[in-house]
Symmetry: C2
Subunit: 761 residues, 2 copies
């Protein structure tokens, strides 16, 4: 009967459990941690986009009082100095060659940060500048200088073994996939449209810069406190680099101040661990905000899409040729390309598809994971082109999309995960909320867009739930709290199953020595996968409660329920402390529940399966200053199909953030390179949305049909809201002005030039 | 088939897993920990054994620069200021009355230890001295001053609810128990002997003094890093004192430098937590070694035993009247008395028994748990008297004991736990090793003694074992590593079950937020109970390995075994990483095993049941300097029935320590009070055994019949070796000199006086 009870905690806008420690400034981040004898590190970075590193002389730096160690790449003979999830192509410190401006070339560990920083000036590096490629065009040109000349080693993760570089070119990985006969379908289509769209390189701009603190002990075991979204992946990389068993490496993640993908896989941890080993001391490496620009970014892209439709609006074929710029090192870029491109057709039924995507090395900051994982680049193209198609067919853009949406339960591709939501509801809500069918002001334009995104697969999460002697609960899981509220959500799930208030539940921070395996805190997966593991672990505890109480009360377990911290039967109730006292014969002991979620990989095509689909729609209303070209988003509605909003408050916050972050690359953001030199790699020069850039009316809504595979029908959210922003805004602008822009961001200059070009046409 | 394999790791003298961190000085103890903003505390203690505390003025101390808080008992209005496991009779700081010299009266938290110490001098306390009772005789005299006048509240532990103070007296608890008709049996016995023996108050003298570090966060959650043997019990006490749910209190135990019972239940933790609350800062309270003398000690005792035997040597009846001095506060003293006295008849078959014991308050340092838990006091009496009986009956003392020993499988008392060892083997080995039947040197005397001890019941331990993706193993359990080697033993047990080297297993330190419930690290229970939980958890993992491999290989699970980190079948082997990759469809995920040991309380009499019996025998060969009375133990053999020595190296170390600690109270140690003033409460004045006091020949041997209820047939050890020391030495002295001493320690003066008295007889 408990399984039928109405939800009590799940679905409530519970305040975040870490609110007080955060607003009082007591939440600890890596840079708040201090170990006895700890040294501080600083990095010397390449001033060249591409250069041979002929010699690094650290002798003067090493001799400076207060300096404990000064290392260059050549010094790292006692470990595998290369890391990287896709390919082991990235050296801890440049070896022989520096491949982008800002690449770490040497590092110093000293008694304090100032001494370390000053010692950097004493390092002499003899560079021989090499020709560089800063753009896709340069990198793909025949005879282009090669960013990498040797064959990189396979990365650290067996499930990424399908990734293949193309030696002798700058193509780091190529992904091709087709179903049906796309060429024939397009040839037979009534309307074929083709266009090329560009998406800029942008920064994650997490509030907390990258940081790590590493300490080896005398037994050869390593502990790293790291701001990382996936401690278990970092553990694998470090274990292989240093030749240490997994169990001897401990990754602890205190609070994390924003990730957005920038803190997936190893970043500063390898260098920090190497410095700690070299110095024989704990070493903390706290990067500056500007150094984030030299660490990882979103893969920029050039996407050419062809869509073929019948006269009645039915999509018959799509081809997509996408080139992603992954910068100087692969990071997880090839997977971004592979995974994103597989869903290039978005949430639409397309029988004939041909996809061809390349991850391309350039001499720029490495591109990796970033909220949306390759999909924003493609949705920007497809959703823009669909509006053009609607225009050409004389169709309403919402109707045209609706007509082609995949249905609930329909397989995304033959044999692949069926669609687990109702996108027509999201799109309908978004259109209705923006007043789609109503006549708006003449100086306003409206646009919509939709998206569909896969999550990582296979996808493994595990959890332990402990019921203490006084009926309070501890959740052990390794999902990282990075501001998104996962600790609160996991606590709610355990509180719901075990019928206790959220305040009685504690979720501890991830620590690979202690909290069980969780694959990654990314890919919108934590509520669904980790949450499900926590739910299962709590249910395991519930079954144990039922078993003890059933025997004690002499009633069948099926007649029992949990309510208000007690096992309840028709005959009476046993509070949890009583049940535990019966179980253990004393006022001690605890029930331990275990949950393991490992859905496995389905039979679907490579990388294409997903444990759930993330789906969202967006609708924008914009105005434009024709004098300056400044676009203003006046209203924005985001609707995400989340199955079940475990915590509407947190979800709303997350989606508002997603929309605003999407407005960044839509209107403002771009890392601008000139001959390999990043012009705006500082907080001052790089413009992100400010409070006054947020639309005056910003609504984030949710579709909840409890049809997700996560706990209580929930499924992933948090990335989806970002993805429709660019095309919805651009579609609104096009509907207002008749101007179709293909390159992001929609800067005033770009818009003004387009408006002028239109005027002159 | 795996279950039949010969043992590979268990039984081996594996070096301790924490050896390197300890010998390099890097093992962290509480006093090595530093938190940002941490304050340091010092305690002002009563100079009187008994005094009314009329007024404590902390104003001047509080005003001193650097002082953050100065507290007296009257300030503690915002918590329950009383604690104690048996009765809540002990205030955090004296309230109205100070009941022993050294009782905490006020405390200061300051920016550093020196400032805190200096501020103590600025506290004005107005004492009114009261008449004190320092001895059992004084405390039990009619009209004696009362140490406690009100009725103390029940303690924090429901399973101690049988303890009852006797209001209006200094009797803190009385335990009476009888079976058969002791009076009649003694009346009909051929030989009745009666005598009274005294056991001194002694110090645990752990190398690491008591220490705690407490920090509250803004959410009202409390973390305490504490040198405690039972973090879960401390958690209960603090939760009740501060009105906080268990799950909001986290007790972390880093390394602990020796406990011997002195670190069971709350000691400094309540005061440290109160100071942290008052200051709003983390507070560390690190006591000095001398302050241990003012914190807890062994309960001294006066034990009167009557034994009745038939002419043929058969024991027919025993009565025992024991008074234990538990000092000014009950601590766990009443339980020591109850539990110890229940086994006052030792390892012998005695049909008629009448026991009457009292725990008595005096104005001295509180008496609590100490290695042996009340049994050394009784064994001193009984084992001495049995030698007198042998002498009177013309029997060999070994033979007389052997004749009366309880047999393997025989119930200790009707309905109680059957004897699970062969004490005759231990006694035989001890006698043989000391050369009992051989003629020795004329100036040497030999003596033997035996003992039996119950462990705590009920007794609950839980564990989690995690098998990582690379086949390494983590053990999560809350047994405290306090030098006895429990981390090594638990690692060995997991390594044995999972067929990996010990170096592949990591056991993490106890942390109530993370590692599962364990009742206490005391009572010789960890290897048996926690070890069994770890074994079960590892077996749970093993079953999961079998399940996955059986399905994959298409063979029945019963045809599988584990060897060298792999599942082995006739057809081939799957290394653990392969099994996990099959299970999870990727190179991640882990198997989580769970073990719960909760044997429950048997139907036996109150407190008398035990999950296992600890049994040991000792044999001593001594010489005496007739000129000075100095007794020298020339040889000592200890034989313990351990079922299975999981790690003979550690076990030997532990038993050698037990023997030497036993030699302390046998020959040297006594806390000497004069009118309530402790004369020798410093490391300088209090004499413990030194290296040159260790017998030149000291052997610790083990009987291993794999008949224990712990893992691989192991059962508890570590206390047993201490208990026979005093009677074995005294019996040897008596056999050498004809002198029977009844009071410990056997100081030169006491022996010399006895020798002189003999000479003049």
């Amino acid at each position: 009967m408990s399984r039928r009870a109405p939800l009590r905690v799940v679905g409530q806008p519970v305040p975040r459990v870490d609110a007080v420690e955060k607003v009082t400034g007591r939440a600890r981040y890596v840079t708040d941690l201090v170990l006895p004898g700890m040294a501080h590190a600083k990095i010397l970075r390449s001033p060249y986009a591409h250069a041979r590193v002929r010699r690094v002389d650290t002798a003067r730096a090493g001799a400076r009082p207060g300096v404990i160690a000064a290392l260059s790449g050549a010094d790292l003979t006692w470990c595998d100095p290369y890391f990287g999830p896709a390919f082991r192509d990235r050296p801890v410190l440049a070896i022989d060659v520096a491949r982008y401006e800002g690449e770490p070339v040497a590092a110093v560990a000293a008694v304090d940060e100032l001494t370390a920083a000053e010692a950097l000036d004493l390092i002499d590096v003899d560079y021989e500048p090499l020709p560089a490629v800063s753009t896709l065009e340069e990198a793909l040109a025949p005879g282009a200088p090669l960013v990498h000349t040797g064959e990189p080693l396979a990365g650290h993760f067996a499930d990424l073994a399908t990734l293949r570089p193309q030696p002798g070119t700058n193509v780091c990985h190529r992904f091709q996939w087709a179903r049906g006969e796309a060429a024939a379908a397009l040839a037979g289509a009534d309307l074929v449209l083709e266009d090329t769209f560009r998406f800029p390189p942008v920064q994650h701009y997490a509030m907390e810069p990258h940081a790590a603190l590493a300490a080896w002990d005398e037994t050869g075991a390593l502990t790293v406190w790291a701001g990382t979204q996936n401690p278990y992946s970092v553990r694998v990389e470090l274990a292989k680099m240093f030749g240490v068993p997994l169990g001897r490496i401990r990754i602890v993640v205190p609070h994390l101040g924003g990730g957005f993908g920038s803190k997936t896989y190893a970043k500063l941890e390898p260098l920090t661990a190497a410095l700690a080993r070299a110095t024989g001391r704990p070493v903390r490496l706290a990067a500056s905000a500007a150094e984030a620009f030299q660490t990882v970014r979103r893969c920029s892209a050039r996407v050419s899409v062809r869509v073929g439709l019948r006269r009645d609006g039915t999509l018959v074929g799509v081809t997509c040729d996408a080139d992603y710029d992954v910068g100087a090192y692969a990071d997880i870029g090839p997977r971004v390309v592979q995974k994103g491109t597989y869903t290039a057709t978005g949430p639409y039924r397309v029988p004939h598809v041909a996809l061809d995507a390349r991850a391309v090395y350039t001499n720029t900051t490495p591109g990796g994971a970033f909220r949306g994982f390759g999909v924003p680049q493609l949705a920007w193209a497809l959703e823009s082109l669909l509006d053009v198609a609607a225009d050409r067919l004389g169709r309403d853009p919402v109707d045209l999309r609706r007509q082609n949406l995949l249905a609930h339960g329909e397989e995304f591709a033959p044999g692949d995960t069926p669609i687990d939501g109702k996108l027509e509801e999201s799109l309908g809500h978004a259109a209705q909320a923006i007043g789609w069918t109503q006549t708006g002001a003449a100086d306003r334009g409206r646009g919509v867009a939709a998206m569909l995104k896969a999550s990582v697969a296979p996808s493994v999460s595990e959890a332990i739930v402990r019921l203490h002697a006084d009926g309070s609960v501890a959740v052990l899981a390794s999902a990282v709290e990075m501001g998104q509220g996962t600790r609160t959500v996991l606590a709610q799930i355990a509180a719901e199953v075990l019928a206790v208030p959220v305040a009685r539940v504690t979720a501890v921070p991830p620590d690979t020595a202690i909290t069980p395996y969780d694959q990654t805190t990314s890919s919108s997966r934590s509520t669904t996968m980790t949450g499900r593991a926590v739910q299962m672990a709590a249910e395991d505890v519930r079954e144990q409660l039922f078993r003890v109480a059933a025997e004690h009360l002499g009633v069948p377990a099926r007649e029992l329920a949990l309510a208000d911290g007690a096992v309840v039967a028709a005959a009476g109730r046993l509070a949890y402390p009583e049940v535990l006292a019966i179980r253990f014969g004393m006022s001690g002991g605890e029930l331990i529940g275990r949950g393991v979620v490992a859905p496995g990989r389905t039979a679907a095509p490579l990388g294409g399966s997903t444990p759930f689909w993330e789906m969202a729609a967006g609708a924008a209303e914009v105005s434009v200053d024709e004098e300056t070209g400044a676009v203003r988003v006046e209203r924005y509605v985001s609707v995400a199909d989340v199955g079940r909003a475990v915590n509407p408050l947190l979800l709303e916050g997350q989606d508002e953030g997603g929309v605003v972050q999407g407005l960044g690359h839509t209107l403002l953001e771009e890392m601008v390179y000139e001959e390999g030199h990043l012009l705006n790699g500082t907080l001052l020069a790089y413009r992100v949305p400010r409070a006054d850039d947020v639309p005056r009316a910003l609504e984030c809504r949710f579709v909840e049909n409890a049809d997700g595979s996560g706990p209580f029908g929930a499924k992933g959210a948090g990335e989806g809201s970002l993805i429709p922003v660019s095309p919805a805004v651009a579609n609104a602008l096009a509907r207002l002005t008749g101007v179709r822009l293909r390159d992001l961001p929609l800067t005033p200059e770009r818009v003004w030039r387009a408006l002028r070009a239109r005027g002159s046409r």
